[in-house]
C-alpha cells in the first residue's frame, strides 16, 4: 500500500530560526500518529505545512500522493484540519455553521442536510442542532470544530491539540470520538503534550524537540526501544502506613521518611522488601513514595514476574504489583531531557 502521508525533508525557517528541521516521516492509511513535543517544538508548524497553510522553506510532503506545495487546493479537499486555537462565528446556529462549511467544501445542497445530521450524531451534538454556536461550552465547541472538520469526509485528519484546555470529562469524550474516527479508517495526525492521552489509541508516535524528530515509529516498538525498562509499582501491606484519620497537614507536607512523624517509620517488612528488590537481577533503583515502592526495571522484557515471585517467596505481603501507566511520559522525559536542560 502506498503511504498516505509522506513527509520529505520538510524544513521551515522563520528569519533566523529553524522551526522544523528536515523532517522525514511516512504513515500508512489508517495510522494514528501521535505527535509529541514540548512547547515551541514545531508541532503546529509541521501540521500547518501539511495543511498547506504554510509554505515549507525546503522539502515537501505528499498526502495521498498529492504534493502539498504544488497542489494546495487538491490537498485541502482531502484533509480536515483542526487548528490549536480557533474561534467560531457569532450569531449563527450550529446547523448553519456546519451548512456554511459544507457549502464551502462545495458539497451539493441536496446532500448537506444528511451530512450535517451524520456528523452531529458522530460528535454527539444532535440536541444542540438549533442552538447558537456561542452558547456552547468549550468542549462542545471543540467537538463542533471536529464535526466541521468532518463534513467533507476527509481521508486525513490533522488535529492540533484537539483536547487542549478541556476538563477530564470532555477530554475523554474527545478521545472516544477519536477512537471512533480510527475505526472509520481515517489517517490521523494528532498533536499533544499530554502523553497518556495518546497512548491508548495511537499506533505510532513521534517525538519532536527543537524542530527535530528525535524518534518515531510504532508505539510499542518505541516503548521497548527507548525504555527497555520501566517502573514497577509495588504496594505491600505496611503496618506503619498511616490511617486516614492520622493524616495531618504536616505529614503531607513532609514526604520524606526521615523527618519524624507518623508515616516516616519504615517497617521491617518494608526494609526487607527494599533490600530484596535491590538484589533482584534487572532492578537498578528502588524508591519509596506514598507507601508504594517504585522499582526501576531494566531487565529482560516479560520477566517481571520473577520479581513478584521472589517477593512472595520471601513472605512479603504484596497488595498490588504492576507497571506504571505513564510510559509515554517517561519516554518523553527520557528522550528530551538532555536537550531541554
Amino acid at each position: 500500500m502506498p503511504p498516505m502521508i509522506r513527509i520529505q525533508n520538510l524544513r521551515k525557517e522563520y528569519r533566523d530560526l529553524v522551526a522544523v528541521k528536515n523532517l522525514n516521516l511516512e504513515l500508512e492509511p489508517g495510522d494514528i500518529f501521535g505527535f509529541i513535543g514540548p512547547n515551541g517544538a514545531g508541532k503546529t508548524t509541521t501540521i500547518k505545512m501539511l495543511a498547506t497553510l504554510l509554505t515549507p522553506t525546503y522539502g515537501t510532503a505528499y498526502i495521498d500522493g498529492v504534493d502539498v506545495v504544488r497542489y494546495p487546493e487538491a490537498v485541502r479537499s482531502i484533509v480536515g484540519y483542526m487548528p490549536d486555537f480557533f474561534g467560531v462565528y457569532d450569531d449563527i446556529k450550529v446547523w448553519e455553521y456546519l451548512d456554511f462549511f459544507a457549502a464551502a467544501y462545495r458539497i451539493p445542497r441536496a446532500k448537506r442536510a444528511q451530512i450535517i445530521d451524520d456528523v452531529l450524531t458522530l460528535t454527539d451534538l444532535n440536541v444542540k442542532k438549533e442552538a447558537y454556536v456561542e452558547s456552547l461550552s468549550r468542549g462542545m465547541k471543540q467537538r463542533l470544530c471536529l464535526a466541521k472538520t468532518l463534513v467533507h469526509d476527509p481521508k486525513v485528519l490533522l488535529l492540533d491539540e484537539p483536547a487542549s484546555g478541556l476538563d477530564p470529562r470532555a477530554r475523554i469524550e474527545i478521545k472516544e470520538l477519536l477512537k471512533e474516527l480510527r475505526s472509520m479508517g481515517k489517517t490521523i495526525i494528532v498533536s499533544s503534550h499530554i502523553l497518556p492521552e495518546l497512548a491508548d489509541f495511537c499506533n505510532k508516535i513521534g517525538i519532536i524537540e527543537k524542530g527535530e524528530l528525535i524518534i518515531s515509529g510504532d508505539v510499542n516498538e518505541i516503548i521497548r526501544q527507548v525504555s527497555g525498562h520501566h517502573t514497577l509499582e509495588i504496594r505491600i501491606l505496611d503496618e506503619n502506613t498511616p490511617e486516614p484519620s492520622q493524616l495531618s497537614i504536616e505529614t503531607l507536607a513532609s514526604q520524606t521518611p526521615q523527618e519524624g512523624g507518623v508515616a516516616v517509620k519504615t517497617s521491617a517488612e518494608m526494609e526487607r522488601a527494599i533490600a530484596l528488590l535491590r538484589s533482584q537481577p534487572g532492578v537498578d533503583e528502588v524508591k519509596r513514595s506514598d507507601g508504594k515502592l517504585l522499582a526501576h526495571y531494566v531487565g529482560e522484557p516479560n520477566q517481571e514476574w520473577r520479581i513478584l515471585k521472589a517477593l512472595i517467596e520471601n513472605d512479603i505481603r504484596v497488595l498490588s504489583f504492576g507497571t506504571q501507566a505513564t510510559d509515554l511520559e517517561d519516554i518523553f522525559m527520557r528522550v528530551t531531557k538532555g536537550i531541554v536542560s
Binding site: D16, L17, V79, V88, Y89, D91, A104, Y105, K148
Partner: protein, 582 residues
C-alpha cells in the same frame, strides 16, 4: 436517465454571502438601522419642504414646483451619498479582520472557497445591505417626481452612482481589512484613507491647476467622485469644452455621459482593489506578489487608456466640438503627468520591505536577482526598482502607441497631431522628443532617489509599515509644502523670509519640474523666487535626486557594514513564541 436542465445561474452559490446575510438580517438590528436611515432622510426632506413652504408664504406665492423638486432631490442624493460613504466602510473594514481576531480565517482558508469568492461574498453582503438601505429611500425620492423637475435618467444615474460609491468604499474597507491585523486598526485606516484622500486629492487638484495641468486635475475630480454629480448638472451647459470630451462626446467612438464614465472608473477601481484584497488574503505571500504587481500594472494601463483615449480622440474624426483652442493651449505630454504621479505614489510600496539576513549576507547578488525572473516572482524588495522603471516605460509606450492609434505616427516628432478638418497651423509644433527626454531623465532620477531613500529606511527601521508611512508623509510634504509656501508668499517683495524658503522644495517635486518642461513657453511664476531660477528646473531636480541616491547608497552600505560588525548574532531559538499571523 432523466434529462436535466442545469442553469449555471441557479447553481451559483456563495457560502460566505449566504452566511453573512443570514447573520446580518437576524434579529432587530437590521430593522433599526433601516428605520434610523429612513427617519434621517425624512427629516431632511421635511425641513427642505418646510423651508420652501415658508418661503413661498412669505413671498406671497408658490414658486415653481420643479425647482423645489430638484432641490429636494439634490439634498436627498447628497445626504445619501454621505451616509453611504460613511456607513459602508464600517461594515467592510472589519470583514476580514474579524475572521483573524476570531481565529476563523485559517479554517475558512482550508475550504475549497477561492480567495476571490471570499472577498466577493464579503463585498456583496455589505453592498447588498447598503443597496437595501439606498433603495428603501426610493419612495421618498418619488416625491420629487410629483414636484417635477427631475428626470428619470437623473434618478437612475444618481442611484447607480451611489451604489458604485458604496462599492468603492466597501473595497477600500476590505483592502485595509486584509492588510491589518485588528479591526480597530482597519477601521481607523479606512476612515483615515477617506478623510485624508478627499482633501489631499483636492489639494493636489489645486496644485495641478496652479501648474495648469488641467487634464490631470479633471481626472482627479472623476476619482473624487464629484465629477459624476457635476456631470449631471453640466449636461446641458457647454461652458467648459474639456468637460464635454467626457460628457457627451465620442469617447473612443462611444457616447458616454459623465456619470457613466465615473461609474466605469469606480467599478474598475473597485475591481482592482478587490483583486488586491484577494491577493493579500493568499496565505503564501510569495505567490501573491506577482498578482499584486499585475494588479498595479493593470491599474496603470486602465487609467492610461482612459486618460490618453479621451485626449487623443480629439484628433480622431468624430469630434463634435471645436477643440483646437484647448489642444493648442495644452501640449500633449501633459498626459504623462498622471502616470508619473501614480508611479511616484507607488514607489514607497515597492521600495519598502523586509530584507532577510540571507540577502544581506550577499547584497550584490540580492540586488542583481531583483532584475531576474526569480526576484520578480518572489516580489523581493530588490525587484521593486525594475518594476517601477517598467511602469514608467509602459506608460511611455502607451503614450507613443496612441499616436499610432490615431494614425498619425509622424506627429510623434512634432508632438502636434492634426485635428481633422482644421489647418495644420492651428497647433504649433513643440520640441516633443526633447520634452520626453527631459521627463524621462527627471522621473528616472526621482524614482531612483525616492526608491533608494525608502530602501535605506527599510534597512534601518526594519518595519515595512513604518517605512511606508514615513515615505508618504515625506512625499506629500514635498508635493504640498512648496505650494503652500508659494501661496503664502508676500506678493511683491522679491526677498524670501523664513518659511518661504520652503519654496525651494519645488526642485524636489518632480511633477513641478515635468510641468515646467512641458509648458516651457511660459515658465511658472514661482520660478523668479528660486535660486538658480535661470536654469531649467528638470536639470536641478535630476541632479538633486542623483545626490540623494548617492547619499542613500552610502548610508545603506554604512548600515550594513556597521550591523555586521556590532550586531551579535541572534540565538538559534528565541524563547518568545511568535504566533503566525495571516
Amino acid at each position: 436517465m432523466t434529462a436535466m436542465i442545469r442553469l449555471p445561474v441557479l447553481k451559483f452559490e456563495n457560502p460566505v454571502l449566504t452566511k453573512e446575510m443570514r447573520v446580518r438580517m437576524r434579529g432587530s438590528r437590521a430593522y433599526w438601522v433601516l428605520s434610523g436611515y429612513l427617519t434621517f432622510l425624512s427629516l431632511i426632506l421635511f425641513f427642505n419642504y418646510y423651508h420652501w413652504w415658508e418661503n413661498a408664504l412669505n413671498a406671497g406665492g408658490f414658486s415653481s414646483g420643479s425647482r423645489i423638486g430638484q432641490e429636494i432631490f439634490q439634498w436627498i442624493s447628497i445626504t445619501q451619498a454621505f451616509l453611504v460613504v460613511f456607513i459602508t466602510p464600517a461594515i467592510t473594514s472589519g470583514a476580514i479582520t474579524i475572521e483573524k481576531e476570531q481565529r476563523t480565517l485559517e479554517m475558512l482558508a482550508m475550504t475549497r472557497l477561492s480567495r476571490s469568492s471570499i472577498i466577493l461574498g464579503k463585498i456583496l453582503s455589505s453592498v447588498g445591505f447598503m443597496a437595501l438601505l439606498i433603495l428603501s429611500s426610493l419612495p421618498l425620492t418619488s416625491i420629487c417626481f410629483f414636484l417635477g423637475g427631475v428626470s428619470p435618467e437623473q434618478v437612475v444615474s444618481s442611484y447607480l452612482l451611489m451604489l458604485c460609491g458604496c462599492l468603492l468604499t466597501a473595497s477600500i474597507g476590505i483592502v485595509w481589512s486584509t492588510l491589518s491585523s485588528s479591526s480597530s486598526l482597519s477601521i481607523a485606516a479606512t476612515y483615515a484613507t477617506l478623510l485624508i484622500a478627499l482633501p489631499v486629492m483636492a489639494i493636489l487638484v489645486a496644485i495641478m491647476q496652479e501648474a495648469r495641468i488641467a487634464i490631470v486635475s479633471d481626472w482627479m475630480w472623476i476619482l473624487l467622485g464629484l465629477y459624476g454629480l457635476t456631470g449631471l448638472e453640466r449636461e446641458s451647459s457647454l461652458e467648459n469644452d474639456f468637460l464635454n470630451v467626457w460628457n457627451l462626446s465620442h469617447f473612443y467612438g462611444m457616447s458616454l455621459p459623465g456619470w457613466l464614465v465615473t461609474l466605469i472608473v469606480y467599478g474598475l477601481t473597485s475591481l482592482l482593489l478587490c483583486l488586491v484584497a484577494a491577493a493579500h488574503l493568499e496565505l503564501h505571500p510569495e505567490r501573491s506578489a506577482p498578482r499584486l504587481r499585475l494588479a498595479t500594472l493593470s491599474l496603470l494601463i486602465v487609467h492610461c487608456f482612459f486618460l490618453f483615449g479621451a485626449r487623443f480622440s480629439i484628433y480622431g474624426s468624430l469630434a463634435p466640438y471645436d477643440f483646437s483652442m484647448y489642444a493648442a493651449s495644452s501640449p500633449l505630454p501633459v498626459l504623462l503627468v498622471y502616470p508619473m504621479l501614480f508611479i511616484l505614489l507607488m514607489t514607497p510600496v515597492f521600495g519598502s520591505g523586509i530584507l532577510s539576513r540571507k540577502s544581506l549576507a550577499r547584497p550584490g547578488r540580492y540586488l542583481l536577482q531583483g532584475w531576474t525572473p526569480v526576484g520578480w516572482r518572489a516580489g523581493t524588495l530588490a525587484s521593486g526598482l525594475p518594476f517601477l522603471l517598467l511602469l514608467m516605460l509602459l506608460s511611455l509606450l502607451m503614450y507613443g502607441g496612441s499616436f499610432l492609434l490615431i494614425g498619425q505616427p509622424g506627429a510623434f516628432i512634432s508632438g502636434a497631431p492634426q485635428i481633422p478638418g482644421k489647418p495644420a497651423s492651428v497647433i504649433t509644433a513643440i520640441p516633443h522628443l526633447q520634452i520626453l527626454r527631459e521627463i524621462v531623465f527627471t522621473m528616472t532620477a526621482a524614482i531612483l532617489g525616492i526608491y533608494s531613500v525608502s530602501f535605506t529606511l527599510s534597512l534601518i527601521l526594519r518595519n515595512r509599515w513604518a517605512v511606508m508611512v514615513l515615505m508618504y508623509v515625506l512625499l506629500l510634504a514635498l508635493l504640498i509644502a512648496p505650494a503652500v509656501s508659494y501661496a503664502s508668499l508676500g506678493s511683491l517683495s522679491g526677498i524670501l523670509s523664513g518659511s518661504e524658503l520652503l519654496i525651494h522644495l519645488f526642485y524636489l517635486n518632480p511633477l513641478a519640474s515635468v510641468a515646467e518642461t512641458i509648458f516651457r513657453a511660459s515658465p511658472p511664476d514661482y520660478k523668479q523666487y528660486l535660486l538658480f531660477g535661470s536654469y531649467p528646473s528638470w536639470m536641478i531636480t535630476t541632479v538633486c535626486y542623483l545626490f540623494i541616491t548617492g547619499f542613500a547608497i552610502i548610508l545603506s552600505v554604512a548600515v550594513v557594514v556597521l550591523r555586521r560588525k556590532y550586531e551579535t548574532p541572534v540565538p538559534d531559538m528565541p524563547e518568545t513564541l511568535k504566533r503566525e499571523t495571516l
